[in-house]
Amino acid sequence: MAAPALEAHIAHRLPGFKLDLSFQVGRELAALFGPSGAGKTLTLRAIAGLLCPHRGRIVLEGQVLFDSTSGINLPPQRRRVGYVPQGYALFPHMTVAQNIAYGLHGLPKREREDMIARMVELMGLQGLEERRPHQLSGGQQQRVALARALIARPRILLLDEPFSALDEALRRELAEEVARLPARLGVPVILVTHDLSDAFHLAQRVIVMDRGRVLQEGTREEVFYRPRNRRVAQMVLMRNIWHARIVAFEGDMVVLDWQGRLLRALRPPQLLLQPGQPVDICVRSTQVMIRRPEDDFSGRPNVLRGRIVHEAMDPEGYTLTVVLAEPPGPQQIYVQLHGHAYLRLGLHLRKDIEMSIRPQDLHIMPQEDPISFMSS
């Protein structure tokens, strides 16, 4: 990540809810990803100056916007933060042009009109200038909201669930536009979303939030393949999450006992592990390989045998539920594969298959404390 453009430490209390988090964002697109009620919108409001946190410090491009210890709290009017709330909050009594022009006050008329015309063209809103928001489609409304925020030359752009009101096709199209914004504007963009695919299609950096805290902050690959704990693994839709115990270390490998099976995983460099320690392990269902007839699995680590007991089909392919054969037990493993692979392998319900997991794809996570584990 480049030098952080935004540094935020925010602590705030509401009845029945505590927000306490820190994160950094560069001149890139970062996603605040988490379920509803995680505190994502509150965080955006605190950055925009629309909520005064009880404690904290927010620095944007070297300027202190908020600092509870020195009593600095710039009003939203002076923060130059572009804010696009959920549902866009277009001014219903104004035309498209009036909406876009709202942030341009105190400029000569000619200059204003030039800027509006340029922004209308940039956002592809030609011909809609005199329409009212309720006469626009969802996608057009979003463009107007972006235009209205961008015309005031913000130093950061905050987007709250920008695609939640749009259908799938439009979502993809607008998502690509939004993804290009940081490069085009040279400003950081923070996108709040509860949708995993939005977060991972768009964001270079993902900040995982839950119950007012940041659980993990990193590149999308880190978060997607190396979740910090069970909760993050669940949030990034990791299907195979298991309890295991560390048996021994062999070079750069960790030997694990998973319900009587010995598995090998690459030793994670930053984790302190000891033999006997209980851990959580996980593997993405796309990373589990099914043996083809021509493959030789002998000598491979992490070979598992089982029977397909359920198949679920989605637009991308198949997700198989496999019950492991030995030692006997109810252990299940989920395997996801593309349609063509499914057909080529001649798979079907109740077929016995052999699978293998590469040690680098098996990820070890420290176990959460029992209390938060129970409630998750």
Binding site: L50, P75, H93, H105, H134, R148
Partner: protein
């Protein structure tokens, strides 16, 4: 005998001033009730809307007791030289109190109906709080405020019970049209009753048409 011009003048003067008072006092009250929660909010809301449910003569009776020479407030008013009992100014107060809920209820709904996210966005776009109120909040709530003004005016024009209690029916000084209709019947002056009633009906219907236009035809 036809309509008394004095009755019409007093009626319009009283109703206009009473509506203005509703606007000036009731506007901020409606805003506070719509936007803030504080201890006593429920009681304030009840107090403001109570005249809608109470018999007007009862409201008038308590106004008379509360504003008369025997009361602390009455003595205070005496000192600044404002006489409310049996004066047209008293009629204004009576009409304003009775008309206030009809302005405040729609006004409160109007302010509450303005999505505060709009005001938040406006603030991030650099506009001052006053500017946001004038360009966002007020225009969006305007239809409700307008409807409230018309309803309050119509009520103030026709107010009878409390007005008679506080201001009496002194021809040329405190007698409004609504009181005059009753007065004319008592005096057996059917011509005046007829003419005044018709004129009142005209004013009320005109007000209601404006109200209907505000609530239906001007919807965007």
């Amino acid at each position: 005998m036809a309509i008394y011009p004095d009755d019409v003048r007093i009626t319009l003067q009283v109703a206009t001033l009473a509506t203005l008072i509703c606007l000036v006092v009731g506007g901020p009250l409606a805003w506070v009730l719509a936007r803030y929660s504080f201890p006593g909010r429920g009681l304030l809301s009840l107090l403001v809307t109570a005249p809608l449910a109470l018999p007007p003569t009862v409201v008038g009776y308590y106004l008379l007791r509360g504003l008369g020479h025997g009361s602390p407030l009455g003595r205070l008013l005496d000192r600044i030289g404002l006489e409310l009992v049996f004066t047209w100014q008293g009629a204004v107060v009576a009409a304003a109190v009775l008309a206030a809920p009809l302005f405040i209820i729609p006004a409160q709904a109007g302010f509450a109906g303005v999505d505060q996210e709009l005001e938040r966005v406006a603030a991030t776009l650099g506009r001052s709080r006053l500017s946001i109120f004038l360009t966002i909040t007020l225009p969006i709530a305007a239809r409700n405020l307008g409807a409230g003004v018309v309803l309050a005016f119509a009520k103030a024009v026709g107010e009878f019970g409390a007005t008679v209690m506080v201001a009496g029916a002194i021809p040329g000084r405190t007698r409004t049209m609504a009181v005059s209709v009753y007065d004319a019947i008592q005096a057996g002056d059917l011509g005046r009753a007829n003419a005044t009633a018709l004129a009142l009906l005209g004013i009320s219907l005109a007000s209601l048409s404006i109200f209907a236009a505000l609530t239906t035809f001007l919807r965007r």
